[in-house]
């Protein structure tokens, strides 16, 4: 089998000298698959994504993306390689318009025609945004901001999408909508690493899953198997 798109080995991360948030994590994401990382609050899921996108520099370990070690590269260089993170809590540019937020997603693209083409695709996927292009992003509801954050990431036409808690804090209707979009992206062959607290929905959609506990990988396997694992059912699926 060919080399995975992303392969992480021995990744160790921390925010200050005294504590280590993530210890020796290894994982793989193959092209065209959805891989989910589940675990309790504070297990280190977000920390791992920050380590992959370059917002946090790894203390140890390698992160190979398309064969190149990207551990320690600054975030903007990693973004340029096609790894695009949709951060936890949306993080839209609230003082900027929706149109500007989308343009920011295509920051590295210097081709206006291609930018317009991508924008049309994003707006077709998120028609709610199309109606309100000139509005300040800060005025959108949480669910709409999540759509904007995902649309912004799609403007970069990423090779790999890192989704951090996309359904967190959203109304049920929006949660459904967000997972429908993730499923749609999967069908189109996108590669996605999905971090979620909603373990059930994440396992339903993913091909492969990793269970994280206290900063270490506790368990991994095909998502269907993980969803039937007794410990997982008891701890995360409300069994």
């Amino acid at each position: 089998m060919s080399e995975p798109l992303l392969s992480v080995s021995g990744l160790t991360l921390g925010y200050d000298a005294a504590t280590q948030a993530v210890t020796g994590v290894s994982l793989e994401v193959r092209e065209g698959t959805v891989v989910t990382l589940i675990g309790a609050n504070g297990a280190g899921k977000t920390t791992i994504l920050r380590g992959l996108s370059g917002l946090l520099h790894p203390r140890a370990g390698t992160v190979r993306f398309r064969g190149q070690d990207i551990a320690g590269l600054p975030a903007h260089r990693i973004a340029a390689l096609g790894v695009v993170q949709v951060p936890e809590g949306r993080q839209v540019f609230a003082n900027m318009t929706i149109a500007e937020n989308l343009r920011m997603g295509a920051w590295l693209l210097k081709d206006a025609a291609e930018e317009a083409r991508r924008r049309d695709l994003v707006l077709a996927r998120f028609p709610r945004l199309a109606e309100r292009l000139g509005q300040q992003a800060g005025l959108l509801s949480g669910g709409e901001q999540q759509m904007l954050a995902m649309g912004r990431a799609m403007m970069a036409n990423p090779r790999m999408l890192l989704l951090d808690e996309p359904s967190m804090g959203l109304a049920p209707l929006f949660v459904e909508e967000i997972f429908r979009i993730v499923a749609e992206l999967k069908k189109e062959g996108r590669t996605i690493l999905l971090v979620e607290q909603n373990a059930q929905a994440a396992l339903d959609i993913a091909d492969h899953a990793y269970v994280l506990q206290s900063g270490r990988i506790e368990l991994s396997g095909p998502a269907g198997e993980i969803a039937r694992n007794e410990k997982v059912v008891a701890a995360y699926l409300g069994g």
Partner: protein, 292 residues
């Protein structure tokens, strides 16, 4: 008489606006209260002084001085402020660090240059005044007003009308997320330092020409006055820097003309206190600038 006062006020106000612009840009985009800004002004004036003493025309010396100040601003930012930014330190930290740096830089300048007042070589710029409907206008004054107007327009376009400005606003609001979009913060920070320091340097040259007096501490005098202007206009707001600069300049000149020139310098600080009292965010400011 009144027309002359108003014009003089416009000139002084334009100087304040030019100085405040760079400072406010720095704060608006990078969240940095940079007290070394006044030092860049002194640097600009001295670079232009030496250049003109060596026969360089003022038209060339002015951009040269702006460039030199801008480059020094990049160096200071790289040494002092980039590490703070990396550590996500508060705005107060930048204030303390730049205060210390300012004191050090001025002592060095003082030791190296002495506080003697220098003058541009005679004839560096045409000093004669023309009479415009009873108002005496010099070429330097025209240059100051035109520079302020042109640079404010250019900065407003940069920030609100250009793609680069969009990136700067994104960086200002959410540096981490901007990086995830591929924004190279380091390059943009250097650009902001260059523009900000360059504006201060150009301002120093214009002040030197207008009053024909150059000494190392000239930037410090301006820094205090400039601070009042920036608070009045609203920290981080480009329009605010222009409007507040003009208000302070006009009020000072009118006070000097109709009250007493000894109380003139109090005007800016009275406005500063009044602003903090009534409207702490300033004329255009957004108070409680986010920032996680």
């Amino acid at each position: 008489m009144l027309a002359q006062q108003l014009f003089n006020g416009l000139v002084v106000g334009s100087i304040y606006a030019l100085f405040a612009l760079g400072f406010t840009l720095m704060f608006g985009v990078l969240g940095v209260v940079n007290l070394t800004h006044g030092f860049y002004l002194s640097i600009g004036a001295f670079v232009a002084l030496y250049a003109t003493q060596h026969g360089v025309a003022i038209w060339l010396a002015l951009p040269l001085a702006a460039l030199a100040s801008g480059v020094i601003a990049i160096v200071v930012d790289g040494l002092l402020l980039t590490p703070l930014r990396r550590a996500k330190a508060s705005e107060l930290a930048s204030l303390m660090v730049t205060l210390g740096a300012t004191l050090l830089l001025y002592s060095i300048a003082n030791a190296a240059l002495s506080t003697d007042i220098r003058r541009f070589p005679p004839g560096v710029i045409d000093g004669s005044a023309i009479d415009l409907a009873g108002v005496r206008v010099t070429l330097t004054q025209c240059l100051i007003v035109a520079s302020a107007a042109g640079l404010v327009a250019a900065l407003l376009w940069l920030m609100n009308g250009s793609r680069l400005g969009m990136g700067l606003r994104a960086l200002a609001e959410r540096p981490d997320t901007a990086a995830l979009m591929g924004v190279n913060a380091g390059a943009l920070v250097r650009l902001v330092s260059l523009i900000s320091g360059g504006l201060a340097g150009a301002c120093g040259v214009l002040i030197g020409l207008n009053y024909n007096a150059i000494q190392p501490y000239m930037g410090e005098v301006m820094m205090l006055k400039g601070f009042a202007v920036i608070i009045l206009g609203g920290l981080g707001d480009i329009r605010g820097a222009l409007v507040a600069g003009l208000i302070v300049g006009l009020l000072e000149t009118l006070t000097a003309g109709y009250v007493a020139s000894s109380v003139k310098d109090g005007v800016g600080f009275a406005l500063l206190v009044l602003t903090l009292w009534i409207r702490p965010s300033g004329l255009f400011g957004r108070i409680a600038v986010k920032r996680a």
